[in-house]
């Protein structure tokens, strides 16, 4: 077992990278038992490991199965460490409601975006797949979200995204939320046409877009 917080963080990052959910949980339990700062352990252990996995994905060393299992390991650790995060270490507080629109059950892309948003410090409310347009709006209002993130892989369900925008407009609450869209058949042109605030072709770009739209970074950065 690692002797120092730094050693433990490195071991944790490696455990996530190597898809070892059991070891990840063990190390997180040890961090709690030793009184290590939970947020630092998340940042320098779990998130560092997930970032390394993401880099390997970009380099075609890892593929979707590896990334999904790495994220399972990360979430196993998060479940242990979350209750121990001190209020002083809270993240920037931006909130995202995310889901796959009604009629579509392809949620891997959405899950990757969710992970990367969480890694970037967003508080994410994941509504899952096959989500009715009204449910996005209701949840966004309920949690006072900053961003509504909509995903679909199918051309038949693209229109569900414009329905979300329409409901926001009809309720005179469009200005309260940034709406971003993503998924294989989409384009910036489509995003513009339905009146969304942005389109991201890849998960990493969705995070950058959410940061820009919520003022965490400026668009030129």
């Amino acid at each position: 077992m690692p002797e120092t917080p730094e050693d433990l963080h490195e071991a944790l990052a490696t455990a996530v990278l190597e898809l070892d959910e059991v070891l990840t949980a063990d190390l997180c339990n040890k961090a709690v038992a030793l009184g290590y700062d939970a947020w630092t352990t998340i940042e320098q252990g779990l998130i560092a490991g997930m970032n390394r996995a993401g880099k390997l994905f970009d380099e075609e060393e890892y593929f979707v199965p590896e990334l999904l299992i790495a994220s399972d390991a990360m979430y196993a650790g998060l479940g242990i460490l979350r209750p121990h995060i001190s209020q002083a270490n809270t993240i920037h507080g931006r909130r995202v409601v995310i889901g796959v629109v009604q009629g579509d059950t392809h949620d891997i892309g959405k899950n990757l975006v969710r992970i990367m948003l969480e890694v970037a410090g967003f508080e994410v409310f994941d509504l899952g797949r096959d989500v009715p347009a009204q449910a996005f709006v209701d949840r966004a209002v309920e949690v006072n979200a900053d961003v509504i993130a909509l995903s679909t892989l199918m051309t038949t369900t693209m229109t569900q995204m414009s329905k979300v925008v329409s409901i926001l407009e009809e309720g005179n609450i469009r200005h309260r939320f940034k709406v971003i869209v993503g998924g294989a058949p989409l384009s910036q042109q489509f995003s513009d046409r339905i009146g969304a605030d942005g389109y991201a072709p890849k998960a990493a770009q969705a995070v950058q877009l959410a940061k820009q739209l919520t003022g965490l970074v400026n668009a030129a950065a």
Partner: protein, 356 residues
């Protein structure tokens, strides 16, 4: 009469048949993969279209008559086989059917053993597709290409287990996955043969996960590539050619060709390793016939007719290098809710710009 005043000299079937053999037909064939979109031609709801073979056949025939495309594809949806293997499927009134993953047939890894052989000639949805093939072949099979469709065994399994869970099981429970894929493969062989017997001129196999954005090449080969081979061999033994469709990004053309040996590949993006379509055409255009590569979402929802016409013209020019081995098509199913005029414009583009 064609859009530019020239008259088609061949039937659609002859045109497609020649293109698939790298023999230049009168002009580039156009097959914009109008499948579910055809339900709107006769005003039939999507859920009925998906489940009533007579209604689907009538719709596809009416769409071909209206649009003039050169080939039928009997892709109904990717849940056809899954339902027959026991998965609950949801049928929206105006959209594509999909599995209810809140009630997956394979809820845990232990459930892979529940997958059992089916007889696609008797099961509800597969038999309906076979009837669609038969109806199309009887009505127009002498003139228009009829292409059957079979989703690959790993794809079918993902529609029963859930995509994410299946991908994780490839690492956690590979033997159970392989056993289920093997069982499904046996049924798909029968399904493909039944479509040939019903009159299909070719069978389109869809190995969706042979894509670099999803699986490592060796992973796809282990879990699906080797299983695709007996399906493809059975189709060829039944007397018709095999075509591959994969709308994923970065398709492993080399592995797909090695395992399936298709005469054509229908795709939406350049092959893995090709940075753009021009490079792709130079690398692969003479090795396997290209069916594609118009962006379906843009064709159906975004581009003006003039923009689409120009995009088609550019692709026809890009694939002149293939010496006749090119069929203008959308890279995936034409959007069921897309502008049908755009499908007609793709045919018009071939008639305007596709003469050899």
């Amino acid at each position: 009469m064609s859009a530019n005043g020239r008259r088609d000299e061949l039937t659609s079937l002859e045109r497609v048949g020649l293109a698939l053999q790298y023999k230049k037909p009168d002009r580039v064939p156009a097959a914009p993969l109008v499948c579910g979109a055809s339900c709107r031609v006769l005003g039939i709801s999507y859920d009925r279209w998906s489940q009533d073979p007579k209604a689907a056949t009538a719709s596809l025939l009416a769409a071909q008559s209206l649009i003039g495309f050169d080939g039928f594809l009997t892709l109904v949806d990717l849940s056809v086989e899954a339902e027959d293997f026991g998965q609950e499927v949801i049928f929206p009134e105006w959209s594509t059917a999909y599995p209810n993953f809140d009630n997956p047939c394979i809820a845990t890894a232990e459930d892979y053993g529940k997958v059992a052989r089916i007889d696609p000639r008797k099961t509800r949805r597969s038999s309906a597709v076979i009837e669609i093939v038969r109806g199309l072949a009887e009505a127009r099979g002498k003139d228009v290409a009829v292409m059957g469709f079979v989703y690959g065994p790993l794809g079918v399994l993902s529609q029963i287990r859930g995509h994410a869970e299946l991908f994780k099981d490839l690492i956690r429970h590979p033997d159970r996955v392989l056993e289920a894929v093997d069982t499904i493969t046996g049924s798909l062989v029968e399904y493909a043969i039944a479509q040939v017997e019903a009159g299909a001129h070719a069978i389109v196999l869809d190995p969706l996960y042979s894509s670099s954005t999803i699986l490592r090449k060796q992973t796809w080969e282990r879990f699906e590539g080797v299983f695709m081979r007996p399906i493809a061999d059975a189709v060829r033994a039944a007397g018709v050619p095999v075509v591959v469709h994969n709308c994923g990004n970065g398709v492993y053309f080399d592995a797909v060709i090695e395992h399936i040996k298709p005469i054509a590949i229908s795709h939406a993006y350049p092959a893995h390793g090709s940075p753009d379509l021009k490079h792709h055409a130079e690398a692969w255009g003479k090795k396997v016939v290209t069916i594609g590569v118009i962006d379906p979402a843009k064709a159906g929802h975004e581009w003006s007719q003039d923009e689409l016409l120009e995009e088609c013209r550019q692709q026809i020019e890009t694939f002149r290098i293939a010496d006749g081995g090119f069929i203008l098509s959308s890279g995936c199913e034409f959007p069921p809710n897309g502008n049908l005029q755009s499908a007609a414009t793709m045919v018009k583009a071939a008639q305007l710009h596709g003469w050899y």
